[in-house]
């Protein structure tokens, strides 16, 4: 299965005035692509903390004690804030419980949705140009080194051509994009105009119409108007005729007259043409750029775009690309082999470093080794690779942080102990003298140095396993495919450079998004403030914002808890549909097992910072094993419940002093002696299903689940015909 996110042995605690709260205690789970994982538990069970850790937005007093969160080969707990910025919101988005507090009350909804799109576009264009140039220079260097020196002139020429053709293509694409943007702008303006007219708002009709006429006449690029030239001309004429025949209502007259039919009809006829233009298939500018570079005077209008694309491809391949790839391939192979040799070196050194870091060492020594090691690791990276191996890239930061943390606590631990002892002594003395002491001693934060050391080694270990795999797979690399990949990369970057999101484009996209999440009349609502929306609508806006960057993963933190039943059903349906359409992976956090039955593929039940039961939705609902899951299920009435509800007595434990044994033991009527003494491990029920309770131990007495649940499950299964396995 395709795992998109892996959480391994995550431990998080919070420093508070009362003591260190152990919020998450060693949890692990996987999220698969296109699936929904529900995390269910009471408030304070650590489910929100987990999700915040994934996004890197934990509160300042949090301590990440260990574990890793792997996304796309990166450990999200160890990457730098800049790298995190590229993931947060872009790849992993979040929908919060209270939509009102996640929207800015004094900014209009539309601006809140488009803000991120415009900002992101601005930076990505700048970056694209930079990485294009850098990568091209690197490629050239490698090609020169790999090929016969006699070919140096040719290589130089080829690389220059690639650069030039990308610029030529850019110029064309830029012009094309501008035209397209103009079409979008005009379409948006016409929609606005018609919308306002239908709402009988005040309009300067003459001025607007002449603006439309001017814009329409401008749309004349050869790429776009192959089929529409004539139509646009006639429509222009009609528009101007309509404009001249229109007389604005005089002052004092009723100003709420309806727009003449003819104006509306002309505008309505312009609309499909414009939307067709905006939906046009993009020509391949990279190819055309080359054609145009070679034949500067050639006209491009003669062929339909699809046909011309084919022709340009052939022209490019024959005259340029085949030769280029031939030479490029050698360069790529050369770079790969160079890196491979260095990697083999580094792996040995990493092994040495491991033994070094396991022994005794001073800070200066450790950092020095870290520096040399990191330098070598960075030198061993094959920079021409498009799919970057992020473990190697983040090696330096990860290792340095781990070392610094070790030494910080080495210094800090005794200080902390001393402070704690001092303050406790003082407090005890005061109490002994019979005084009333209202303050408490801030508990000590002490780390196990051995564990921190193990963390350092773990960083090195991860890289060395990665490199060993790499070396083992070295024979099966397809360099031709890699070369093509690089060309695609150039193409991609080149078009990113000129892809400009204007305000009106962002607006159109925002309106489309708003429509997608089910907001009616998005055009009016675009200009409204958050307080003008109802709770369900606000939640839709938040979802639209989360979707704006097209993320891979969406984390929903109790998205429906503040909403009522009908709206809740709508929002759940919406999230489900979006998940299917966009192949999203969802982490769904809730305290209500009822709402996840329809949503979740997998469910993890959390209690007191631990996952106590993990399985598919069917496992959890039809075959629950942990007493806490039983309690959760039996404490909510369904439509057939008549008997007294089985409430869970008491409250969750204080996580400053987490219980030694099973955290749920105190509220559990099935608790055995061992539950108070030792924490139960996971027992596998089936391949997909596991639960951490001593009841599953082979020596445990047989305990039947509560009758209310058995009855309900029987009822449910009989209703659906007992098809527990089939879908």
């Amino acid at each position: 299965m395709d795992k998109i996110l892996e959480v391994k042995n995550l431990k998080i605690s919070f420093r508070t005035s009362g003591g260190t709260v152990k919020a998450v205690r060693d949890i692990s789970f996987d999220l698969e692509r296109g699936k929904t994982l529900a995390i269910v538990g009471e408030s304070g069970s650590g489910k929100s903390v987990t999700s915040k850790a994934i996004l890197g937005i934990l509160a300042g007093n949090s301590i990440i004690e260990g574990g890793e969160i792997l996304y796309d080969g990166k450990d999200l707990l160890r990457i730098s804030e800049e790298d995190m910025c590229k993931i947060r919101g872009d790849k992993i988005s979040m929908i919060f419980q209270d939509p009102l507090s996640s929207l800015n009350p004094i900014v209009k909804i539309g601006n809140q949705i488009t803000e991120a799109m415009i900002l992101k576009n601005r930076t990505s264009r700048k970056e694209a140009r930079g990485s294009f140039n850098r990568h091209l220079a690197l490629l050239k260097k490698n090609m020169l080194a790999a090929n016969d020196p006699s070919l140096a002139g040719e290589i130089d020429e080829l690389v220059k051509t690639l650069d030039k053709m990308s610029i030529e293509g850019n110029k064309l694409e830029n012009r094309y994009n501008n035209e397209k943007t103009e079409a979008v702008d005009l379409l948006s303006a016409i929609e606005d105009f018609l919308f306002k007219a239908s709402k009988k708002q005040k309009l300067d009709v003459k001025k607007e119409l002449s603006r439309f006429e001017k814009l329409l006449a401008d749309i004349s690029d050869p790429f776009l108007t192959i089929n529409y030239d004539e139509q646009i001309k006639t429509l222009c004429a009609e528009l101007s005729a309509a404009k001249s025949s229109y007389s604005a209502p005089k002052k004092g007259e009723d100003e709420n007259v309806e727009l003449p039919e003819e104006i509306i009809s002309v505008l309505e006829r312009i609309k499909p043409i414009l939307s067709d233009i905006t939906a046009h298939e993009n020509p391949n500018f990279f190819r055309i750029g080359y054609y145009k570079l070679m034949n500067p005077n050639a006209s491009l209008t003669e062929m339909p775009i699809a046909e011309f694309n084919e022709y340009a491809l052939k022209y490019l391949d024959e005259n340029f690309m085949h030769r280029f790839i031939e030479l490029e391939e050698k360069g790529v192979e050369y770079s790969f082999n160079q890196a491979l040799a260095k990697k083999k070196d580094v792996v040995e050194k990493l092994e040495d470093a491991k033994t070094f870091y396991l022994g005794d060492f001073s800070k200066a020594e450790a950092l020095k080794l870290c520096k040399t090691l990191s330098d070598e690791v960075e030198a061993s990276i094959d920079r021409l690779e498009i799919n970057k191996d992020s473990v190697a890239y983040t090696f330096r930061t990860a290792l340095t942080t781990a070392i610094n943390k070790y030494f910080f606590y080495m210094k800090n631990n005794p200080k902390e102990e001393a402070r704690f002892a001092r303050q406790s002594k003082k407090r005890d003395a005061l109490i002994a003298r019979g005084k009333h002491v209202s303050w408490k001693v801030v508990p000590k934060v002490v780390f196990d140095l051995e564990e921190l050391k193990a963390d350092i080694v773990a960083v090195i270990d991860r890289l060395s396993t990665r490199y060993s795999e790499y070396i083992a797979n070295a024979d099966s690399v397809d360099f031709n495919a890699r070369s093509v990949e690089i060309i695609d990369y150039f193409k991609d970057k080149a078009s990113q450079v000129v892809y400009k999101v204007t305000k009106s484009m962002a607006k159109e996209r925002a309106i489309k998004l708003m429509e997608e999440v089910g907001i009616h009349e998005p055009r009016t609502r675009y200009y409204q403030y958050p307080f003008e929306f109802s709770g369900g609508m606000r939640q839709r806006i938040v979802i639209a914002i989360a979707l704006a960057a097209d993320p891979d993963i969406i984390i929903c933190d109790e998205p429906t808890t503040a909403l009522d039943v009908t709206i809740q059903a709508q929002i759940l349906e919406l999230i489900n549909n979006l998940k299917k359409e966009r192949n999203l992976s969802v982490i769904f956090i809730t305290h209500d097992l009822g709402v996840v039955a329809n949503m979740a593929d997998d469910i993890g039940v959390m209690y007191a910072g631990k996952i106590v039961e993990y399985g598919t939705a069917d496992d959890i609902f039809y075959d629950p094993r942990h007493p806490y899951t039983w309690a959760l299920l039996s404490s909510m009435p369904d439509l057939d419940t008549k008997e007294k509800l089985d409430a869970i007595p008491g409250t969750p434990p204080n996580m400053i002093y987490p219980p030694v044994g099973d955290a749920f033991a105190e509220r559990n009527k099935y608790a055995m002696q061992i539950d108070f003494e030792e924490c139960p491990p996971f027992f596998d029920v089936s391949e997909t299903h596991k639960a951490a309770t001593w009841l599953l131990h082979p020596d445990a007495p047989k305990v039947e689940r509560p009758k209310a649940i058995s009855d309900r499950i029987e009822r449910m299964l009989s209703k659906t015909g007992g098809e527990q396995d089939g879908e």
């Binding site: 009471e42 408030s43 109802s534 709770g535 909403l563 009522d564 039943v565 009908t566 709206i567 809740q568 059903a569 709508q570 759940l572 349906e573 305290h591 209500d592 097992l593 009822g594 709402v595 039955a597 329809n598 979740a600 939705a617 069917d618 609902f621 039809y622 309690a631 959760l632 299920l633 404490s635 909510m636 009435p637 369904d638 439509l639 419940t641 008549k642 007294k644 509800l645 089985d646 409430a647 869970i648 007595p649 409250t651 309900r712 449910m716 209703k719 659906t720 098809e723």
Partner: protein, 417 residues
């Protein structure tokens, strides 16, 4: 108990509550029988909370009347004002038409003038009648509590008159009685009819004063009522605390020291200490975790049995409402659209909004959930009320639906009547 089952404790008639142009509640009628739990469901903003608050007189209602124990406690003047406006307009139109006729046919003048006079008189009569009703409504609205406390005072006076008579010759006992008489008289004077209705709020954090201890919060009602005996108050508070599943030691603490479920228990204790007949529970569990919800529902069920409470239960979670209520009223945009006994409502939901509401209930059953289709309700598409105006109609005994003639026939056909 059986005999009391059909005794109506609270009757709401044509209740309207408008805030300016916004008609939060519009012409809602229902009654609550003694000892039952009446559930009120609907989406947020449909007016169910406003209804609850109107009953306990947090708002002055715009129209309609509310009777509690057959005593009108709230009265609005909207319908009377509307009647006055209507008759004025009608008369004006009629007179205008008649004058027109006079202008065309002067020979009919005397006849028509007599008619005009009659119309005017009729109009004056109706206005006077309605003005009287408005006066009465305003009087009831203002004085229902005064009347009630007057009665209480009378009762106490009568009781003690007898006791004084008996203890005439014993000066010590008379002095004791005098003190007792004074206390009881003060309580009676402060007694209000509305005190017999109490409310539990949704947000227990916002509903409890953060600067008062639990003891002060729970005893506040008693203190306002004029009870000054500290020992009696303390005893009562402890008793109630234990009743709602808290312990005596909690009395000295502040609300922030409690968890959400415990806070809601305090809210319940505060309302139960006044010995109410009717408890209005406004979404008491929606802000709580599922496991705590069950605790609170069990507690309310227990209290209901022990104290014989009648409860108006406002909520949007239908599974809970179904579990807890005897009868359910469904509200949509300020109107009551369906009202029936719980089992009947879930067995035969008639109004399309009720159906859509029922179809939205999430179930803890993945297979059933995947097959569930939600019914979408669109009021404009569903009903055509342009000609035939709808009203509350009884389709089956005890099952009311808001519909017009055509729909009524349809519903009856569906039920095979």
């Amino acid at each position: 108990m059986e005999n009391n089952k059909n005794e109506v404790l609270l009757r709401v008639e044509h209740l309207s509550q408008h805030f300016g142009k916004l008609k939060a509640v519009n012409d809602v009628s229902f009654d609550i029988k003694k000892g039952e739990v009446f559930g009120l469901v609907g989406e947020s903003g449909c007016g169910k909370t406003t209804t609850g608050r109107s009953i306990i007189r947090i708002y002055d209602i715009t129209g309609g009347s509310i009777y509690f124990k057959d005593q009108r406690i709230c009265a609005g003047t909207l319908e009377y004002k509307e009647a006055i406006d209507n008759i004025k307009k009608e008369t004006k139109d009629a007179i205008k038409a008649l004058e027109q006729e006079i202008a065309e046919n002067p020979e009919l003048k005397s006849d028509k003038e007599a008619l005009i006079k009659a119309k005017k008189e009729e109009c004056d009569r109706v206005i006077a009648e309605n003005r009287k009703l408005i006066k009465e409504a305003k009087f009831d609205h203002k004085n229902s509590d005064k009347e009630y406390s007057k009665n209480c005072v009378k009762e106490v006076e009568a009781k003690f008159a007898k006791l004084f008579e008996e203890a005439k010759n014993n000066p010590e006992e008379t002095a004791l009685l005098k003190k007792k008489y004074k206390d009881e008289l003060r309580v009676a004077k402060n007694t209000k009819l509305v005190t017999n209705i109490q409310m539990i709020f949704q947000d227990s954090i916002a509903a409890l004063n953060p600067r008062m201890t639990v003891r002060e919060i729970i005893a506040e009602g008693l203190v306002i009522n004029g009870i000054k005996d500290k020992e009696y108050i303390d005893e009562k508070v402890y008793e109630i605390l234990e009743l709602v599943g808290l312990v005596r030691e909690h009395a000295g603490r502040y609300p922030h020291e409690f968890s959400g479920g415990q806070r809601q228990r305090i809210g319940i204790a505060r309302s139960v200490i006044m010995n109410p007949d009717l408890l209005i529970a406004d979404e008491p569990i929606s802000a709580l975790d599922v496991s705590i919800q069950a605790q609170i529902i069990n507690l309310m069920n227990e209290l209901r049995e022990r104290l014989g409470l009648t409860i108006l239960f406002i909520a949007h979670d239908l599974s809970v409402v179904k579990y807890f209520s005897d009868r359910i009223g469904v509200m949509y945009y300020g109107n009551m659209v369906e009202l029936a006994e719980t089992d009947e409502l879930f067995a035969h939901p008639l109004h399309p909004y009720t159906r859509s509401l029922l179809s939205a209930i999430p179930l803890p059953d993945p297979h059933a959930e995947k097959k569930r289709t939600r019914i979408v309700y669109n009021a404009l598409a569903e009903h055509d009320y342009s000609v035939d105006k709808p009203s509350m109609r009884e389709i089956l005994p005890g099952h009311f639906v808001y519909c017009n003639d055509a729909e009524e026939a349809n519903y009856k056909k569906e039920l095979g009547l």
